[in-house]
């Protein structure tokens, strides 16, 4: 960092004030999150917290995001861009989920309020939440076997749910008529609306107290500060170059491997990511739009930084991404994408860490590399959840057991809540002992969860790392690959099955890779 840079930035925001303002902005995003989670109806939002809240300024720069789910991290700016392209009037509230208009996959309904400050739009409050059903070919809207987006559910480009504060009940009615669980959707949308309102109120208060110009300066200062911290970290790794290859185990239609390739270069405080060699779009729904790829890159960079760096637009600035024209991680219409957000995003994360490791940057061994999506759907009900697994070990210690790794961090559904709400009994919920890879530091163990259904229904499973295990690092052992079973017989990694009463579906999630070579007599972690 040159003295000149410090001088320029301090003209905008004094280094003495940065921490105060970072805290003030984060507070508003946190408040939005609190309102959302407390008001939401569906277990997926209220218990599992599969949602994110963020605040943007009038120019569409991200000011703050509440830390909930990494896969939403870099993706929300695209949603705001899409809304701004619709020329929003002050007080307009948009809903969108189209991956071609700032969305990720269809169940993630993103609400964007164009915050009114008098007769102008002063900023944007954004709430993205994963809804348990948005229609489409299978309950839960996380289908296996979809080949077109239109099969995966109702597609919403940015549409106005409210015009200048007046709700469009016809539009809401249309949306609710196209989902399987309209009452729950209505409740969750109301909670999203309340969360946006909380963000808008907080933002307006700031503007009223400090004035537009001052706040604009503050935002610039905070964004530059986050950028500076990201750049400083990258400069410390200057000259690093690495490559990596990995595969996705099929697209849900065929089991043909889908290769991913990355050449990574850190130079002049920039992170250059070239995905040339990565497979073209595939027929099945593991494709993802470019914003998911960007989110993965952002997450990996974020994990190299200290925890306290404010989450705003600045962190994304040093990242450049190159992909082939026709590419499964920069998908275009009409590709199906439901599983891309949850599974492809995990593989991109693995690929990024592998390339960093190849470049000599110290990163943990591979974690479970999947979210283990499972959806049940019967008459009048759908239930979706994802499962944790083993985290990879690092030079500093063993990998945590039974946690979400990479792009997810949702919580589990309590057995008691689940069993009261749905005709499902959890026969077994346990740590999958011994599934973490060996080494000086052991990989984290995965999870075993067995569901017994008490009524006829369908189950959809979208999982990864069932054939290729998470790899160890620095000579550490691989974790165990995951396994899916139906009534104790193997079940494919991605499939849909019709179940009858008494059937038991069991998921055994992958263990994380170990770290370091164990030599005879050398210490290993107690486990």
């Amino acid at each position: 960092m040159t003295p000149h840079t410090v001088h320029t930035d301090s003209a905008v925001l004094d280094p003495l004030e940065i921490a105060v303002w970072a805290s003030t902005m984060a507070m508003i995003a946190e408040e939005m999150g609190a309102v959302l989670i407390r008001g939401a109806l569906s277990p997926n939002i209220r218990e599992r917290r599969d949602a994110s809240c963020a605040l943007f300024d009038a120019e569409g720069e991200m000011v703050a995001q509440a830390a909930h789910i990494p896969v939403h991290l870099g993706a929300l700016p695209e949603a705001v861009r899409a809304v701004r392209a619709c020329a929003p009037d002050p007080g307009d509230v948009f809903l969108l989920n189209s991956p071609w208009h700032g969305g990720s996959h269809l169940p993630d309904l993103t609400m964007v309020e164009a915050i009114a400050d008098g007769d102008r739009v002063a900023g944007y409050a954004v709430v993205r939440a994963h809804h348990a059903d948005v229609g489409g070919m299978s309950p839960g809207s996380m289908p296996q076997g979809a080949t077109e987006l239109v099969q995966e559910g109702l597609i919403l480009p940015p549409v106005r749910l409210e015009r200048a504060g007046i709700p469009d009940d016809d539009l809401l009615g249309l949306i609710l008529a196209n989902v399987r669980t309209p009452d729950e959707r209505r409740g969750d949308l109301a909670a999203q609306r309340a969360a946006c309102a909380a963000g808008a109120a907080g933002w307006r208060t700031l503007l009223a107290r400090h004035g537009r110009e001052r706040i604009a300066g503050v935002v610039q200062g905070l964004v530059r500060y986050a950028e500076r911290r990201a750049t400083a970290r990258l400069q410390a790794l200057d000259g690093a170059r690495g490559t990596a290859e990995d595969v996705l185990e099929g697209d849900g239609i065929s089991e043909a491997l889908i290769p991913l390739r990355l050449a990574l270069r850190i130079q002049g405080g920039q992170l250059h990511l070239d995905f040339t060699g990565t497979a073209p779009m595939v027929p099945g729904n593991v494709n993802c739009p470019i914003q998911v790829t960007r989110a993965a890159a952002l997450f990996v960079l974020r994990s190299l930084l200290d925890d306290d760096v404010p989450t705003n637009a600045g962190i994304a600035r040093p990242i450049t991404i190159v992909t082939p024209e026709d590419c499964c991680i920069a998908a275009r219409s009409p590709a199906a994408v439901a599983a891309g957000n949850v599974e492809m995003s995990q593989r991109i994360t693995d690929l990024l860490f592998a390339a960093l490791a190849d470049a000599g940057v110290e990163v943990p061994a591979q974690g479970q590399g999947t979210m283990n999506n499972i959806t049940f759907g019967g008459a009048g009900w759908t239930f979706y959840e994802t499962l944790g697994g083993g985290q990879g070990a690092s030079a500093h210690g063993s990998g945590p057991d039974a946690v979400h790794v990479g792009m997810s961090n949702t919580r589990n559904t309590p057995i008691e809540s689940l069993e009261r709400a749905y005709p499902i009994i959890i026969d077994r919920y346990a740590v999958r002992r011994g599934s973490g890879g060996g080494g000086i530091h052991r990989g984290g163990d995965g999870v075993v969860r067995a569901y017994r259904v008490l009524a006829p229904c369908t189950v959809t499973v979208l999982t990864e790392r069932r054939a290729r295990a998470p790899r160890g690092a620095a000579g550490g052992g691989d974790g165990l690959a995951g396994e899916n079973r139906l009534n104790d017989a193997p079940l494919p990694a991605k499939c849909r099955r019709v179940l009858t009463t008494g059937d038991v579906v069991e998921l055994r999630t992958p263990g994380g890779g170990g770290h370091g070579v164990t030599e005879p007599g050398s210490p290993t972690d107690p486990h």
């Binding site: 105060v20 609190a34 008001g39 939401a40 500076r228 970290r233 210690g397 961090n409 067995a450």
Partner: protein
């Protein structure tokens, strides 16, 4: 004279307060004795109510104690060896937690280790499902479990089975069998500790109870013996919920003591507020390493269920407290992005702030206060002499690197610490649908009155109360605490189909479990399908429709919307309380009157109005009247600060 006493044990000081029959308050302070907190308790009593002077001396007839024993044993992991009996198939709940990771971006971060070792969990072959038993608990299973448990030679056993909030027959059968097999063995059943849905939180809470109980029993026995020897009464103990329990009772509810200390402060603050007729307030209690934010509504501390203590979920009722790592000892530093930061690292008691002259060279918040002249050299607790030069040198060190002046840097350090605390205050209020601007701010603890005006400004609040005895308010809260007993039951009912008889019976059943002069009931309610409940005050005479209406109004007030959805209750809670001691907050006619020249409040009469900026030295703290604020003395002691004009 007979007096009621409160003794609060903190990390550095043990504070004592006595209240005589006329309601008059006397205070004192001694150093804490971490190796055995009881030594400090007895010493504090000796200071505030000397036992030897029997002629004019005091007879302590009631002693309430605030203890950090449970918090410390959870932090230090020095509790009992617990064996946990759990439903077969779900024996790893403590390790699985809620499956979210310890840190979003630090991928190696580990959750705290569970309080029970994996090998000490015994599987019980039984299973309840909602409304039915799927696998009965056979006598063969019972015998096998007893064998497995005894083979592990535990100090205490916790039995926590799935869906036992609905029916705990299996838990009780196992407890009975274990006690029959080994009568001296203590057994905790989870449903008796917390009868609420969500297996992880319930199991973890019950395990915390088992983990803490033997140590709490031993501590209270030791303390009792010491006090008996000194001719003092058996102590009662403050619970996290802001009521006291007898030592015997507290020993069986160890997990309810996890926030014993902070609860005392908020109870004290509520009493002060009631005495001046202010209903709603946020509270901020600032000490050396941390600040606790709380909420008082309608003159009563807000009590709710849930929360973590030292990473351990304890889902029991507790006074709402949100703790942030920002206090007088928080250190200022510069990060790799060139920004000035404060905390979370603290200089602690040793070496402490640079101004303490105990070897600290990094600047703390206290040093910044001293540099800016907010605290005088004599203004610190327990006669610690302050070194202004050392404080200035410490702040200067980072000011130079920032290219800024010492004063600006010191002010920025305070601003940053204030921003952290303001965020905590905002969380406790906004999360509960309370607008901070409608509240007063009560500021106490050694540092509270120094930060109060700035915090109020940050939150748009216009009134600050600096209570009398601000530096020992927790001990005041203990001395006056009501006796409080709670009973709760799971009540999963749709309110539109709830028979009136069922409702009345449920209320009566809880009332029969606990004694007390004043009774209140509260119901946790939600829309069918929601996961978070709102708590509404109820009475046995309420009609079910009234319950629905009250919930709907509360939901609209907090979230701004209602749903065309049935309403269900989750749990019914009952509190029976016996009023505590009445304190008469008043300026002390025997103490020296206010020293207007040096702005020193000795606790005696005061009749003056101060405009900021300036400090007032209080008996056990310093208040900072920021620019734009005006301070007037309160007749009850302490001060009220008001914003003069809109900013």
């Amino acid at each position: 004279m007979t007096v009621a006493a409160g003794v609060d044990v903190g990390g550095t000081f043990t504070d004592g307060v006595v209240i005589d029959p006329s309601g008059r308050i006397r205070t004192g302070k001694v150093m804490s004795t971490p190796q055995d907190q009881g030594i400090g308790v007895v010493a504090a009593l000796e200071v505030i109510a000397p036992a030897a002077s029997t002629d004019a001396g005091d007879q302590v007839t009631r002693l309430v104690h605030g203890t950090t024993v449970v918090t410390n044993l959870l932090l230090e992991r020095t509790g009992a060896r617990v064996v946990l009996c759990a439903t077969a198939g779900a024996t790893d709940l403590l390790e699985l937690r809620r499956q979210d990771r310890a840190s979003l971006y630090d991928l190696s971060a580990q959750h705290p280790t569970p309080l029970v070792a994996t090998a000490d969990v015994v599987a019980v072959d039984e299973r309840r499902i909602p409304g039915a038993v799927a696998t009965p608990l056979t006598e063969t299973t019972v015998a096998a479990v007893v064998r497995e448990v005894l083979a592990r030679d535990p100090e205490i056993v916790v039995v926590a089975l799935l869906h036992a909030y609905e029916d705990d027959t299996h838990e009780r059968r196992l407890a009975e069998a274990l006690q029959a097999a080994r009568p001296e063995l203590e057994v905790v059943t989870a449903a008796a500790v917390l009868s609420e849905i969500r297996e992880y939180e319930r199991t973890a809470t019950a395990v915390a109870e088992g983990y803490a109980r033997p140590r709490v029993v031993r501590y209270l026995e030791g303390l009792g013996a010491r006090l008996r020897e000194a001719g003092r009464p058996m102590p009662a103990v403050m619970t996290s919920a802001g009521g006291m329990r007898s030592a015997t009772d507290a020993a069986r509810h160890a997990a309810t003591l996890a926030l014993s200390g902070p609860a005392g402060g908020i109870v004290g603050a509520a009493a002060v507020l009631r005495s001046i007729g202010v209903p709603d307030a946020l509270t901020i209690d600032i000490g050396g390493t941390s600040a606790d934010a709380g909420l008082i509504l309608d003159g009563e501390p807000l009590v709710e269920g849930g929360g973590l203590v030292a990473g351990v979920p304890i889902a029991l009722l507790r006074v709402l407290v949100e703790t942030v790592s920002a206090g007088g000892g928080s250190l200022g530093w510069i990060d790799d992005g060139g920004a000035l930061r404060v905390g979370p690292r603290s200089a602690g008691a040793v070496p402490g702030p640079a101004a303490f002259g105990r070897g600290g060279i990094e600047p703390t918040v206290t040093d910044a206060q001293l540099v800016l002249g907010r605290i005088g050299l004599e203004g610190f607790s327990a006669g610690i002499a302050l070194d202004r030069e050392a404080a200035t040198a410490a702040v200067a060190r980072i000011a130079t690197r920032l290219g800024s002046t010492i004063e600006r840097t010191a002010q920025a350090m305070l601003d940053i610490a204030n921003a952290e605390m303001a965020r905590a205050l905002r969380r406790v209020s906004v999360d509960r649908g309370v607008d901070p601007r409608t509240c007063a701010l009560v500021a106490f603890g050694g540092g509270g009155p120094l930060h109060a005006a700035a915090l109020a400004d940050a939150l748009g609040m216009t009134t600050v109360i600096v209570p009398p005895h601000a530096g020992v308010l927790s001990a005041v809260g203990l001395a006056i605490a009501p006796e409080r007993r709670e009973a709760a039951m799971s009540l999963l009912e749709r309110l539109d189909a709830l028979p009136v008889v069922r409702w009345r019976d449920a209320c009566a059943a809880l009332a029969a479990q606990v004694d007390g002069a004043e009774r209140s009931w509260s119901l946790r309610v939600r829309y069918l399908g929601q996961g978070h409940e709102l708590t509404i005050a109820v009475t046995p005479d309420d009609a079910p429709q009234a319950l629905i209406d009250r919930f709907t109004a509360a939901h609209r007030a907090r979230y701004g919307f209602t749903l065309p959805q049935p309403v269900e209750s989750v749990a019914l809670r009952h509190v029976a309380s016996t009023p505590g001691v009445a304190a008469r907050f008043a300026r002390d006619t025997d103490a020296a009157p206010f020293d207007a020249e040096r702005a020193i409040d000795h606790g005696g009469s005061a009749d003056i109005t101060f405009h900021g900026p300036r400090s007032i030295l209080l008996p056990d703290a310093t208040a900072w009247i920021a620019e734009g604020w005006v301070a007037t003395p309160l007749a009850i002691g302490g001060w009220m600060l008001r914003r003069e004009a809109a900013r």
